[in-house]
């Protein structure tokens, strides 16, 4: 019989890797919410777009580097255009941003339904092979995902705290008025934020699709997950989002492993409802970066 210890270790390793993916999924959403003050309901569809960009790159025979590049570049450009073309002029009307981005996500999903159908698509495998840890084997892909997630979080931290643009992002997130007083163009900062968020969503989509396969509706669950993580972590807080991602990731793995595998997807929703009812301001309140 496998010892309780090794079961616990397996759960921890699994959960750490899943949570890293969740953090990657949520950060872009947090950024846009924190900096621009709008909810991007097309975030899930941007993740889907990342996965399908990799799929199409594979179909076109661009190889692995092409797939990776496409999955980052296409969603980043898309997010930038979405901001410039639609969101920018609606910034004063957050409710319109919600409706517009929701319709955008429907357009993307329906485009995939029309051109690819509803069945799942297999994406070129990023990394093959497996590794052993704590007496269990895991896909190398998930290990790489874990590392990439932390590299991205680290880079984002450095970017926000040590570069001029990053500090601008910080300033805009604190106060739009204040930022404009010291001469920071909030629309430029917002554009950068959207592009970064789009790229992160694309990377998340690439990993997610490579791990689980891709389908038109894959983004819906990711949008809800992002919501839950952001609400748990507190609006616009990167640290909060990372903690929220790990909280939900561990909870999910624990429930699916220990109770029933059919509970997949329920953990974020339960956490979301509890936090909204008990502590609506989130665990970390509103703070953008530390």
């Amino acid at each position: 019989m496998a010892s309780t210890l090794s079961v616990a270790l397996t759960i921890i390793v699994q959960a750490a890797m899943i949570s890293a993916l969740y953090a990657l999924i949520a950060i872009g959403f947090t950024l846009i919410f924190g900096v621009g003050g709008v909810l991007n309901l097309a975030h899930g569809a941007t993740i889907t777009m990342g996965a399908f960009s990799a799929y199409y790159a594979g179909q076109l025979g661009l190889g692995l580097p092409g797939a990776v590049l496409a999955s980052v570049a296409v969603p980043a450009i898309f997010a930038g255009l979405l901001y410039l073309g639609m969101v920018k002029r609606l910034e004063e009307e957050p409710i319109m941003v919600m409706i517009t981005t929701l319709v955008v996500s429907v357009v993307i999903e329906q485009a995939i339904v029309v051109f690819e159908g509803t069945t799942s698509r297999s994406i070129p495998q990023l990394i093959e092979g497996q590794f052993s840890l704590a007496g269990a084997t895991f896909q190398n892909l998930l290990g790489v995902m874990f590392v990439v997630s932390w590299i991205i979080i680290g880079l984002l931290f450095l970017f926000v705290n040590y570069t001029k643009t990053g500090k601008g992002i910080l300033a805009v997130s604190m106060s739009h008025k204040g930022a404009s007083l010291v001469g920071i163009q909030s629309s430029r900062i917002n554009l950068i934020t959207w592009i970064i968020a789009g790229a992160f969503a694309g990377i998340a989509g690439l990993f997610l699709g490579s791990w689980l396969t891709a389908d038109f509706a894959m983004g819906q669950a990711q949008l809800v997950l992002s919501f839950s993580i952001v609400v748990v972590g507190g609006i616009g807080s990167i640290r909060g989002s990372v903690v929220g991602a790990y909280l939900i990731g561990f909870l999910e793995i624990a429930t699916t492993n220990l109770i029933s595998s059919s509970l997949q997807g329920l953990a974020p929703l339960v956490v979301l409802v509890v936090v909204l009812l008990v502590k609506p301001e989130g665990l970390f309140g509103r703070e953008f970066a530390e």
Partner: protein, 400 residues
């Protein structure tokens, strides 16, 4: 008092005289008369041809079915408008009520053998309870957070359905509950039309009464409403319960007809939630009439597109294949050509349709009549202001 009563009665009778109605209402009455007489009209020689031509199908039978389905969706859109259009709390997951009504009724009928008429009532009741469950948190959580809760609520329900799929049938839904009035084209059409009209009259009267005036006042400024000695909490919950019950009625009746069945994709998908917002917003938020018309339009547009036998050259897809995709693109296009304007235009249109642009004339319904030109005074602007306030608070705008 009796004098007062007689004068009221006279007023009322005066209003019911079709010849004394303003033009837009005459058009409305004519439209209703047309809807009611349609099944008869199709049997007339020349008129019948014309009627079939404008129906969203190429035969009268299917046309009536499609129209019935659209009428149910119109009811659903009105229920959205009753809460989101009037109190300004945007519901992104209104399918919740549609689904609770539909599923409850189907399960009561299929699992417990209740007559569909009784089980529809059960569906309405439980949907009203769901209205309380959303309405009570809505007192504490507002603006974008509430929208988030409403967006997530049907997803939680779907997860529960999937987890307990032996009871709820998972993503596949339940089978085929008994029909209220069999399979008939005409009978089902009249069932849908009857319910649609009943809901319309109820909501129209309610929103034109003091209640509507209070609900729109809540959308404008909750403090002013409580300063008038009115409980905002009570009216907000009422709006949610009413909306839930009517959404539930639409869902429950829908699954007991040949045009609907209790499946998540028909009752609570993200697409349904988006469609209902688009319907009310395009038709005119906060007008009921607009939501009803918008609902019919949104539901029938894919049916009309489906009749188009045209294949787009380069991509090799036919219009009918892409009907929903095209619908989403057109919506996005409209939202963008008039940034926020299509809504305002819709409101103005809705106002014209309901005759609320008279502004100053006494004798108008006490529903907060207003001129559309005043910026910041239409439902959309009010709702936006409302949300902006929450954001400002959340982001430490300029308070304190």
């Amino acid at each position: 008092m009796t004098d007062n009563d007689t004068s009221r009665l006279r007023l009322l009778l005066g209003r019911l005289n079709p010849l004394g109605l303003p033009l837009r209402q005459k058009i409305g009455v004519f439209g209703l008369a047309f809807l009611i007489a349609m099944p008869l009209l199709v049997s007339l020689p020349v008129v019948g041809r014309f009627v079939v031509m404008i129906l969203p199908a190429s035969s009268w039978e299917l046309g009536l079915y499609n129209l019935a389905a659209a009428l149910f969706f119109g009811m659903f859109a009105m229920s959205w408008d009753a809460v989101s259009g009037y109190t300004g709390e945007i519901s992104f997951g209104h399918g919740l009520f549609f689904a609770v009504g539909g599923y409850t009724s189907a399960m009561l009928n299929m699992g417990h053998g209740l007559s569909p008429w009784v089980s529809v009532l059960g569906g309405v009741l439980l949907a009203a309870v769901a209205g309380v469950m959303i309405g009570v948190p809505a007192l504490r959580i507002e603006g974008p957070y509430l929208s988030l809760v409403t967006l997530v609520a049907p997803l939680i329900l779907l997860q529960v359905f999937i987890y307990m799929s032996d009871i709820f049938g998972g993503e596949q839904g339940l089978g085929n509950p008994e029909n209220l009035v069999g399979l008939g084209f005409v009978s089902n059409y009249f069932l849908a039309l009857g319910l649609f009209l009943a809901v319309f009259v109820l909501l129209w009267a309610l929103t034109r009464s003091n209640t509507g005036s209070i609900l729109t006042a809540i959308r404008e400024d909750e403090n002013a409403v409580s300063a008038a000695g009115l409980s905002t909490a009570k009216f907000k919950i009422f709006a949610f319960v009413l909306s839930g019950a009517i959404g539930g009625l639409a869902g429950a009746a829908y699954v007991h007809t040949p045009v609907g069945s209790p499946t998540p994709s028909e009752l609570m998908s993200v697409i349904i939630n988006v469609e209902v917002i688009i319907a009310a917003v395009l038709g005119g938020m906060g007008t009921i009439v607009g939501a009803a018309l918008g609902g019919l339009f949104v539901a029938m547009l894919p049916d009309y597109l489906n009749l188009v036998e045209f294949t787009v050259p380069v991509i090799g897809k036919s219009i009918s294949e892409m009907s929903f995709f095209l619908f989403a693109i057109v919506t996005l296009f409209l939202l963008n050509i008039f940034p926020g304007g299509v809504l305002r235009w819709g409101i103005a249109l809705g106002r014209r349709a309901t005759g609320r642009d008279g502004g100053g004339k006494e004798g108008m319904a006490a529903d907060g009549g207003q001129s559309p030109e005043d910026a910041g005074t239409n439902p959309v602007a009010q709702t936006m202001e409302r949300y902006q306030e929450y954001y400002d608070n959340m982001f430490g705008g300029d308070d304190k």
